[in-house]
Amino acid sequence: MTTISSAAGQPAVTAAAPPAGRPDVNRRKLARMGWIFAAPALIFVAGVTIFPILYSVVMSLRNVNATGNGFVMTGVTGANYSALIHAAVWRYALGFTIVYTIITVVVELVLGTAIALVLERLTAGRGWMMALLLIPWSMITVINAELWGYIYEGTYGALQAIFQAIGLGHPNILGTSTPAIIGMMVADIWKTTPFVAIIVLAGLVMLPGDIYEAAEIDGASGWYTFWHVTLPLLRPTLALAVMFRVLQAFGLFDLPYVLTGGGPGTATTSLAVLGYDAMFKNLDFGGGAAVATSTALLVLLGCLLSLRTFRVQVGKENT
């Protein structure tokens, strides 16, 4: 329910660049045709994304009862939202999701940039390295999670066997709060760092070579060049990577669902897990919709904030 659609409003592109010299009438005709051709797709997109999103917003503002004859909605109420604010478990899930997002995204960004810098220098075998790197990213998250589950498992898991072999006892990673959270972050970072690396690499390759030549002639050190030339130029690319990652990390669901079910206790209950439980376990559709809606709003806000930090607009290169 945190899907953000940006597909609407694109058809105008067909009319945006008419052949030079055409009269204005023609242009408007072209625009109209563009809209007509795009209409079925637009209606489809509206049907499958915009309608459910709006429906979920409406549900979050009403008393919803799931019955044998569909949803019965009564009144207009803020009760679903006030229940959220008063629930310790929601406040915890919010804090956990935010901290989890910040830490994983920052680590992924640092590691991903470092890997991209190495990859850019590689001449032989870059294709192979990239293919290898992309394996974790290309695997489905639930399968990743299952694999990490085998590593972390407390009685036959790989990690506890290693710990035991070197005399460090039995770590119960998924069954203890802080290790469970860290273990989940490690699994996430392992999977998504390659994604950040590929995006940053694409940005690096696009950077103009003459600037580096100029820096070299001016006698700038490698480190200085990185901080004062590469990073500022990479800003739009990094902003894009951060936005993708924040959107995804904030919707954290697969890893806790497979690895811990939100436990131990509620230590790894993310907002998405909480919303799922409210809807499909408790059949509390109003509460679940309120979790989903507030999460979507918060992640939008988070993205705007992060874009602001990078002071760029997506798509506007080289600011």
Binding site: G68, E153, T155, H170, N172, G261, G263, P264, G265, F280
Partner: protein, 454 residues
């Protein structure tokens, strides 16, 4: 292998995966519905119709292919009623996924599945949301009288019976017969005795663990906790489900003992991530003296394909209780009921089908072929059934306690129990602080008007 909520035992699904699964399942149901059109259900009195096609949604029970329990039951039914066809829709083995699919399908107005197999803890929630037909409006009191005591009470919500019990399940103590004999120890009758015997055998026989059970943050932990809690004399709510009673000394005693099993080394600390399969596998690999599990535990632990152990090594007994309480301890009730979709267009056929599943013939198949605990009292106590399997033989000796599922907000109530008890087991909070939090959440779950809130 059937489990209570086997999040990790089957293929876990992402949220999107779930939606796809739900859509796929709905599609399959819709196709099945097309196939069933034209099945005219005739006859007026409950369960006497003779021709048509109905769709049955059920998660796997046991067996596979031609020996799949559901297929075997359907074949036997179709032989008895040649004009009625039953189409099987295989539901998820994950109870929560199964419930989500059914709730969205039925509340969306779908007339199929006609009959669905659902958890024993669903009647209040499904009854309150009108997702199941009140069977007591269609079937006479004498029909419900033939089931074992307590089962119909568990399927009742606000005076109406919503589920017809298909087979029952309950907690058992599995133990290493060979090891107890070797060290001249008796089958434990108290939890304290179990703990000390486990410790002795662990040190003497060099076996890794003493006692494994289900301690993950999920429904199964509520089941296990109910057993210790009831043994200690505690309850979760008052009898009318209006007040939570989890902050009692009995509850503290229960939780403190469970935590002490871990701190004393009898139970591995990883038990806080154990569901049925993990606990089962540790025992079946010969790494634990005792195991708490459901009725399938015996055949699983004595089948060469799944276990290193043999029938000469595995014993089964009722669960122990706390010192000073009368033996045996309480076993939590699990199992499955049959429900009818209120939108079904073939209610008479549905009733015929569920009545047949409560017949001696069907219940015998479940008990003798698959070692499931029959729900019909006469079958359960018949000598043929009792002699067919050591687990069924001790069923009459156990004491049962249901989960507090008489409120439609039971899922939220159970979440309050298992998340907090799991945190106690992990050592994140003290037993009294954890139970205070559980009490708080349970109280708001009971008073909520919208499914128990968060």
């Amino acid at each position: 292998m059937r489990t209570v909520t086997s999040r990790r035992s089957i293929w876990p699904r992402s949220r999107r995966g779930l939606c796809i699964a739900a859509v796929a399942a709905t599609g399959a149901i819709a196709l099945a519905a097309c196939g069933s059109s034209g099945g005219g259900s005739t006859g007026s009195s409950g369960g006497s119709a003779t021709s048509g096609t109905i769709v049955w949604s059920a998660s796997p029970i046991a067996g596979s292919g031609a020996t799949d329990t559901r297929t075997v039951l359907i074949k036997a039914f179709e032989k008895a009623y040649p004009k009625i066809k039953v189409t099987l829709v295989s539901a998820s083995t994950n109870t929560d996924t199964n419930r989500a699919t059914l709730a969205t399908t039925i509340s969306g107005g779908s007339s199929t599945p006609d009959v669905f197999m659902g958890d024993v803890i669903w009647p209040a929630q499904f009854g309150a949301h009108q997702l199941a037909l009140p069977l007591s409006k269609y079937l006479p009191a004498s029909y419900f009288g033939k089931f074992a005591p307590g089962l119909i009470q568990g399927a009742t919500y606000k005076g109406q019976v919503y589920g017809s019990p298909l087979f029952e399940d309950q907690g058992f103590l599995y133990y290493r017969k060979d090891l107890l004999a070797k060290y001249h120890l008796a089958v434990p009758k108290t939890w304290e005795q179990l703990e000390s015997e486990a410790k002795q055998i662990q040190s003497k026989a060099g076996i890794k663990y003493g006692f494994v059970w289900e301690g993950d943050s999920y429904e199964g932990l509520t089941c296990d906790f109910m057993e210790y809690l009831t043994d200690a004399g505690g309850t979760v709510t008052n009898s009318s489900f209006t007040k939570a009673t989890l902050d009692s000394p009995a509850a503290v005693r229960a939780a403190t003992f469970m935590r002490s099993l871990i701190t004393s080394g009898v139970t591995p600390n990883a038990v806080t991530t154990f569901q049925e399969p993990q606990a089962m596998n540790v025992f079946a690999a010969g790494q634990s003296v005792f195991l708490r599990n459901w009725d399938y535990g015996y055949s699983y632990a004595t089948t060469p394909a799944t276990s290193k152990l043999t029938t000469s090594q595995v014993g089964v007994a009722p669960l122990p209780t706390f010192q000073g309480e009368s033996y045996p301890g309480y076993s939590n009730i699990g199992g499955w009921n049959l429900y009818i979709n209120p939108h079904s267009k073939h209610i008479n056929l549905d009733l015929t089908f569920i009545k047949w599943l409560a017949s001696t013939q069907a219940q015998d198949i479940l008990a003798e072929k698959y070692s499931e605990i029959p729900t019909v009292e006469s079958v359960r106590t018949s000598s043929a059934v009792i002699s067919s399997n050591p687990v069924l033989a001790i069923v009459p000796k156990t004491r049962l306690v249901p989960r507090p599922a008489g409120t439609p907000n039971y899922p939220a109530l159970s979440t309050a129990i298992y998340t907090n008890v799991n945190a106690i087991l992990a050592g994140s909070v003290s037993p009294s602080a954890g139970l205070a939090a559980a009490q708080n959440q349970a109280a708001s779950a009971l008073t909520s008007t919208s499914g128990g809130g968060l």
